[in-house]
Subunit: 143 residues, 2 copies
């Protein structure tokens, strides 16, 4: 079995910002956006490029202090950007599609983060309002 | 700017099945599961290994026939497994954690699919019940 996968970057965060961010999809991949305007929300997978370092990728436990908790948690039980594969996942509202640029709301990625995938948000698969979470996740930022 | 990212596989789908699937996290990454049992749902990112081929990764438009629609859609407007980066995303219910094995419900990955990330599902970030979708997504499988 192979133990590695290779990602290509399909776009970039051209402008960051929670209120309004811009994602530019590279020309080679732009045809993949056809029909995307029919969805109000998208799931953005991006590469947390500033954490793509050996040390960050070896992180397996963290103290989620942003959530005011000082107890050790496994990275797979948090949305920590330091993790074996520095993939960020964010549900965004799609405001506008113009050529190869998506304008979105609530993107938590930093400027220049490479985009690795865009998926339509489909509530019957993706929305679990009743999901149970530990109390610490209710403090501080959403993720 | 680099245009590629490298993924390590952190686990594998040991047993497929919508009712009950098993994900084995490799020993090197098992410490990352600490505290995961406090969440009822997880987001699983997996490598769609059977589509990790040049031709599948060059796919930019598809006909989502599983959804009884015969109109061309961009891959980023569908959950097609053929796409530039063969990453599958699935929200699952966590039934049991035993050593390095997660037992989950509703996983849509095939057996032997490598796991690339596990994230806790946090409704205040991830659940958008009111998200708008085109009519064709309501037919056939959820994704």
């Amino acid at each position: 079995m192979t133990v590695k996968g290779e990602l290509c970057f399909i776009g970039i965060v051209e402008k960051a910002g929670e209120d309004e961010a811009k994602i530019r999809v590279f020309p080679d991949y732009c045809a993949g956006l056809k029909g995307i305007q029919d969805f109000s929300h998208l799931i953005i997978l991006y590469w947390i490029h500033l954490r793509d370092k050996e040390e960050e990728r070896q992180t397996l436990v963290v103290f989620p202090r942003r959530h005011m908790v000082n107890v050790e948690k496994g990275v797979f039980a948090t949305r920590s950007p330091s993790r074996p594969n520095p993939i960020g996942l964010c549900v965004v509202e799609l405001l506008k599609v113009e050529d190869c640029v998506l304008t979105v709301r609530e993107l938590d990625a930093l400027e220049d983060s490479p985009i690795i995938d865009i998926k339509p948000y489909i509530p019957r698969a993706d929305a679990i309002s009743s999901a149970r979470v530990p109390e610490w996740t209710m403090h501080g930022p959403k993720t």
